[in-house]
């Protein structure tokens, strides 16, 4: 079962790199925000998987819970901040 968990965790890391593409090359700021949100939601599961691998789930589940809260607050705060920014759309649609 440990090998299975390890392979799932490595696959999740690969998916995080795929989401990182949108973070780096996203046309608008909000695209980068979507990428960050996707990486954060994968990190929650990754933390729990690491906990299962080390047999310390009781410790890692608190970190995962706090990370889920932080991810939500970060997305809300960033999108509220970009409400007021003009010129957000100027770099869009250049694919």
């Amino acid at each position: 079962m440990n090998t299975f968990f390890l392979s799932i965790a490595m696959g999740l890391c690969l998916l995080m790199f795929m989401s990182l593409y949108r973070c780096l090359f996203g046309p608008t700021v909000l695209d980068r925000l979507i990428g960050v949100n996707a990486i954060g939601s994968k990190t929650v599961v990754l933390l729990l998987l690491i906990g299962c691998l080390y047999e310390r789930v009781d410790m890692f589940v608190d970190i995962a819970l706090a990370y889920a809260f932080l991810n939500f607050v970060a997305v809300i705060a960033a999108s509220r901040y970009f409400h007021k920014r003009k010129g957000l759309y100027e770099e869009s649609f250049n694919d």
Binding site: Y21, I34, D62, Y89
Partner: protein
């Protein structure tokens, strides 16, 4: 390989497939609004399936501590299901107020030559 292991493996793999769909959808979709569909929803169900699988695996050796840890995992799932629509809606709202125009199939070809987008505020 008993029945619990099979359930756990099924939940983890299905959650992984949802995450894979989310990651590919974020890369392939044409514009910002349609990218939110895979990012917001497939990831939510992916978290739900994978964390539920780990909670079942955690109850393998039954004890009070394991029950509490599984309760915390269910709390994570509940919180994500509550907060994910709010976060998605917040990002969409920011995009609307910034004046990003949604990609549509008819004018998608001549999007670049369309008239300058109207100023908000």
């Amino acid at each position: 390989m008993n029945i619990i292991d099979i359930i756990v493996a099924f939940l983890l793999v299905s959650g992984f497939i949802f995450f894979l769909g989310g990651a590919i959808g974020i890369i392939r979709m044409p514009d910002f609004y349609s990218r939110l569909h895979p990012a917001g929803k497939l990831d939510t169900l992916g978290i739900g399936a994978m964390v539920a699988g780990l909670a079942v695996y955690n109850l393998h050796h039954f004890s009070l501590t394991a029950l509490l840890v599984s309760g915390k995992m269910l709390l994570i799932v509940f919180f994500v299901f509550m907060s994910s629509p709010t976060a998605t809606h917040s990002i969409v709202d920011a995009g609307m107020r910034a004046g990003l125009r949604p990609w549509t199939r008819k004018e998608g070809a001549n999007m670049e030559q369309s008239e300058p987008r109207k100023e908000e505020n």
